[in-house]
């Protein structure tokens, strides 16, 4: 997979020089740290011929020259090729300007350009929509064509990058979401991505019907693990969506950068300060009438050219909300606070460092669909990222990021009537869980000609513990105590490399390798003894490994159309809960689960075929993806009695589906979008559907811009889901529903924005199929929000 947009955008923000240049000839000026030189022309490097890396550089450079072919050059001409720094594809239509229009041109379909050398001591400017502007010294152009890499521009607000498309920047689905909707809203209407909501509080992404341990959710690339064994605190709940700058979504094993889970990955990337903003800040206040939700956020920062400090605090308070039709759902409110502090330092020598702390506290979060509520959830994430730009001739970016996270979660049913419930009647069951991760993440991007390698290493240790007290209402009965996770320790090492080779302006080949190694054990002897009872043949301490490979071939005819075929094969290590969980309640089947320390890895084989088509000037566009994901040794629950189930390996499961999206912009002020997604998932071992698979879903959107006012409407339809699991869960069918929402944004002033929205106008009562316990979604909800920048 090429350099991610996240990487490129982040890089552009971090650097004073947001342009990535690869010179095919030794530059006469080293003005930019991005310039590098092939070894065969560089006498300093030539002395290191025995270095195999340098030898590779030479070969790659030679290949690059062969592929690039001759370009016009000469002492009076500046010539080169403009490339996307992420995809390495040539950029058509980039503008290259001298001091006046006499010196101006644009890049051709193959990204190449030639410009008359300005007859002045001036600089040339390269611009392109969606990319960072860059000024260059003409002295860099010495006669041989220069490869110029442009960094994609960072969106003003949150952005979601989807990596299932062949070329993200040319795909309709890679659009930055408008300022109208929150990141959650935007993600919810992405094809193939469903939001699992167990309450009105925390959401969890499901990619192509896969979630939990089949999707890797990261915060700024940091591995953070939920503490609640009942999944009431997905990692997404510990970061504020308003603090996100970008969400990097990988559907399936398209990219190994953020892990090798069969469902894919979601990297929640938070915004950090730049180094030239001075004093700045934002105040954001919102109100939703349904549930009397209040939200306040204040963010402020200061930066100069060397130092940056930014603090953001968010407070949310929500009462019980009302479902469609008027039913008020008790215990659905929550109070949540989030504080994020970033301190940055621009060191001399082209390196920068960021110290980040994210603290989150949630209180009294109700879960009407479950049997427990969160009393308190607390998390800390602290990390330090140090970044070097061009530390070597091949290495364009090197990042080292040590981190530590702490998550504590307390839940109970003290606010419930436990005497009448079906599950464990007559007793309270307060539970506590905690996780600690300590690790270091290393990222490096290597560029040589038309080859790009993105290498990632993530070494981390996970410590997890959870326990449970059962207090009978009848005081004559003794209280009971249970350890759900007995001091599990997992030492994990993950190494991956994504390689992209732009074979020609139209063809590219992507390959990748990822290796997982995990040494894991249970330190609590009682917990280990209990699991040994359940699985006498399995050892609670073991070392397991997994390897993953991928290959993809892409064809792109400019931006007009493209097609790609990606295949991958690999395996997923069982999670700590799948391995060591004990007596874990699953609301989907009302069974208590035992982890299985002897589980085999899931073996996934995926094929993804995608294509897109864009009309002239992007008046219309279409995109479609087909995918098949065959998983051997599928890990799932198998009932072992009326109350219990154990994780086991089923022979195989199959996921297959189709996603399609499109847009139509008949006029500049009017835009229409549509999308649909369908997933078929089957447990081949039991010959029944897999549980919690979203039904066919279609969306239609309309956006109209009039001066400072933007209006939008969204229609979302989900079909009924009749394909339900019965052997492994007590899943129930869900009915079809259609919800309509309208939104508007009024930019009263460059620094003052007013937003208004009505969700579920018809007050339809509906239930997302992926929401456990038939948890109904909110009914009609009017909200208003003001945003003030200073």
């Amino acid at each position: 997979m090429p350099l991610s947009i996240h990487e490129a955008q982040l890089a552009s923000r971090l650097s004073d020089i947001p342009l990535n240049i690869y010179a095919t000839q030794q530059p006469q000026s080293h003005e930019t740290p991005y310039a590098s030189t092939p070894y065969h022309l560089n006498p300093d490097i030539r002395e290191n011929r025995e270095n195999p890396v340098m030898t590779l550089t030479a070969l790659l450079s030679l290949l690059m020259l062969l592929w690039t072919g001759p370009l016009p050059s000469g002492p009076d001409t500046l010539s080169g090729t403009i490339y996307d720094a992420e995809t390495l594809r040539p950029l058509h239509g980039a503008h290259i300007k001298g001091p006046n229009q006499q010196y101006a041109t644009s890049s051709g379909t193959d990204g190449s350009f030639a410009l008359v050398r300005p007859d002045c001591p001036c600089r040339i400017l390269i611009t392109m929509t969606g990319y960072q502007n860059r000024e260059m010294d003409p002295a860099l152009f010495t006669g041989t064509p220069v490869a110029v890499y442009l960094e994609p521009r960072t969106g003003l607000l949150s952005e979601v990058v989807i990596r299932s498309a062949p070329v993200p920047d040319a795909s309709p689905r890679s659009y930055t979401n408008s300022s109208l909707e929150s990141t959650e809203q935007f993600m919810q209407r992405l094809n193939g991505l469903s939001m699992i909501k167990r309450a009105n509080y925390a959401w969890e992404p499901s990619l192509r019907g896969m979630s939990d341990s089949r999707v890797n959710v990261l915060i700024d690339g940091v591995t953070m693990v939920s503490a609640c064994v009942d999944r009431m605190d997905p990692v997404t709940s510990y970061v504020e969506t308003e603090n996100l700058e970008k969400v990097d979504v990988s559907m399936g094993n398209i990219s190994f950068e953020n892990g090798n889970r069969p469902g894919g990955s979601v990297n929640l990337i938070t915004a950090r300060p730049g180094f030239d903003a001075g004093y700045y800040g934002e105040f954001d206040a919102g109100y939703q009438h349904n549930g009397n939700v209040q939200k306040y956020r204040v963010m402020s920062g200061y930066s100069n050219h060397r130092n940056a400090l930014q603090v953001a605090f968010t407070l949310r308070d929500a009462g019980n909300f009302t479902a469609g039709g008027g039913e008020r759902l008790g215990l659905s409110g929550y109070t949540k606070m989030n504080l994020k502090v970033d301190a940055g330092r621009d060191f001399a020598g082209g390196s920068r460092g960021w110290l980040t702390w994210i603290g989150d506290l949630a209180l009294d979060a109700g879960y009407p669909a479950l049997i427990m509520d969160t009393d308190k959830a607390r998390s800390h994430l602290i990390s330090y990222e140090h970044e070097w730009r061009n530390p070597g001739s091949l290495v364009s970016v090197l990042r080292v990021k040590p981190y530590h996270t702490r998550v504590d979660h307390w839940m109970s049913d003290y606010n419930r009537d436990v005497t009448t419930r079906d599950v464990m009647p007559g007793m309270y069951m307060p539970m506590f869980g905690k996780t600690r991760t300590t690790g270091i993440r290393l990222e490096s991007t290597l560029i040589s000609g038309r080859h790009l390698v993105r290498a990632t290493m993530n070494l981390h240790r996970l410590d997890a513990f959870a326990d449970m007290l059962m207090e009978p209402v009848d005081e004559q009965v003794s209280p009971m105590y249970l350890i759900n996770i007995g001091d599990a320790v997992l030492n994990n090492a993950y190494v991956s490399a994504d390689h992209s080779w732009l074979m020609s302006p139209a063809w590219s080949l992507n390959t990748g390798l990822a290796l997982d190694l995990s040494g894991r054990t249970l330190n609590d002897p009682v917990a280990a003894d209990l699991l040994t009872i359940e699985f006498p043949d399995a050892s609670t301490g073991r070392l397991i490994a997994a390897a993953n490979l991928k290959a993809g071939l892409q064809y792109q005819s400019d931006e007009a159309w493209g097609i790609s075929l990606n295949m991958s094969g690999g395996s997923r290590l069982p999670s700590h809960i799948e391995s060591y969980g004990y007596y874990i309640y699953n609301p989907l089947d009302d069974l208590f689960y035992f982890g299985n320390p002897g589980l085999k890895n899931e073996q996934s084989t995926q094929v993804n075929l995608s294509g897109y088509l864009n009309g002239d000037n992007r008046i219309y566009g279409l995109e479609a993806s087909l995918f098949v994901n065959h998983i051997r040794n599928y890990i799932g629950g198998r009932a072992t009695g009326d109350l219990f189930a154990a994780y086991t390996n089923y022979d195989a499961a199959l996921y297959a589906g189709v996603e399609a999206a499109g847009y139509l912009n008949p006029w500049p002020s009017l835009g229409l979008t549509f999308g649909l997604a369908r997933v078929y998932a089957q447990n081949l071992h039991l010959d029944e559907p897999l549980p919690m698979i979203p039904p066919l879903e279609a969306q239609f959107g309309l956006e109209w811009k009039v001066s400072l006012l933007t209006l939008a409407a969204q229609v979302r339809h989900a079909a009924a889901q009749r394909r339900i699991a019965s052997a492994t869960t007590l899943e129930t069918p869900s009915e079809a529903f259609t919800v309509i929402g309208v939104r508007g944004t009024w930019n009263l002033h460059p620094n003052f924005q007013l937003r208004a929205e009505i969700e579920n106008i018809a007050d339809a009562r509906y239930t997302e199929h992926t929401s456990p316990g038939n948890f109904p979604s909110p009914g009609r909800n009017a909200q208003i929000q003001i945003l003030i920048r200073f």
Binding site: M424, G426, M427, M470, P472, D474, V477, S478, P479, M480, Y481, L482, V526, D529, L530, T532, I533, E534, P536, Y582, Y583, T640, G641, D642, L643, F644
Partner: protein, 269 residues
């Protein structure tokens, strides 16, 4: 002397010091294991003194017994023929209890003559317990009998019942003495009341167990039914997956036929 040599000498000195220190430990006197036993009674007759020990105060259930027999002041008999007869005197009638007679030689650990008996009911208004100890000195051929009064505390580790085959059985819980969360070695004994004074061990029946947590409505898995190991002992494994109140059901079976079901209630901390 170079530096390496001086380091080697220093290491040797430290190592020898360690040996000397550990040697000091070796010279300390080991405590007499008998000190850990509970002295039940000491009684003398003629030239013999008999001391009876138990591992803990006698209670309803399985009770280990240890005997020390001295001839004269300090001559501890290396072998003796000891027969123990537990006797519950209930005014209107008396009965005995299951018993394992001591061997003729002293055991290796305590250097005592070891046996055991099962107290099937507590001492109290219903009656009182005595241990009638008959001893024969094989060297002199001297025999004598000593009664030792025993106070038996109440417990719930013995079940006496009449099964469907009209036989009366005594099921006794021995291990785990202190059940813990996790897997526990399970040992029970089974005896049949042949008469008021005869309680032969039963080895030809089978026992099935079912641990159950009434308050939670579930049991535990992968338990091992106790199987006969001879002399009335049955051994298996019982698993408890959490603390709290547990009930372990025992089903006595003769082949496929269920003879009786009873249970033991336990509290795990």
């Amino acid at each position: 002397m170079n530096t390496l040599q001086s380091h080697i000498i220093l290491i040797i000195i430290i190592a020898l010091s360690g040996l000397l220190i550990s040697g000091c430990d070796l010279n300390t006197n080991n405590p007499d294991p008998v000190d850990d036993l509970f002295e039940l009674a000491t009684s003398s007759i003629d030239n013999y003194t008999v001391t009876v020990y138990t591992t803990e105060p006698v209670s309803v259930g399985y009770n280990l017994l240890y005997f020390d027999v001295k001839r004269g002041a300090n001559d501890r008999l290396s072998s003796a023929e000891i027969t123990v007869t537990p006797l519950m005197d209930m005014d209107a009638h008396s009965h005995s209890a299951p018993v394992w007679q001591p061997g003729p030689e002293r055991d290796a650990f305590y250097q005592l003559f070891g046996g055991a008996f099962i107290a099937t009911m507590p001492s109290g208004d219903m009656g009182s317990w005595q241990l009638i100890i008959d001893v024969t000195d094989p060297q002199t051929g001297t025999s004598f009998s000593l009664p030792v009064d025993v106070t038996v505390a109440q417990s719930t580790r013995v079940k006496v019942f009449t099964a469907s085959n009209e036989q009366r059985y005594i099921l006794t819980w021995i291990q785990p003495a202190e059940p813990k969360v996790g897997s526990n070695n399970l040992v029970v004994t089974l005896h049949r009341r042949e008469s008021m004074m005869s309680f032969p061990a039963v080895d030809d029946l089978s026992i099935e167990i079912r641990p159950w947590m009434e308050s939670m409505g579930h049991g535990s898995s992968n338990n091992e039914h106790p199987a006969s190991t001879g002399s009335g002992f049955y051994q298996g494994r019982v698993n408890f997956n959490m603390s709290g109140d547990w009930r372990v059901y025992f089903t006595l079976k003769d082949g496929a036929e269920d003879l009786y079901e009873t249970w033991f209630d336990l509290m795990l901390n």
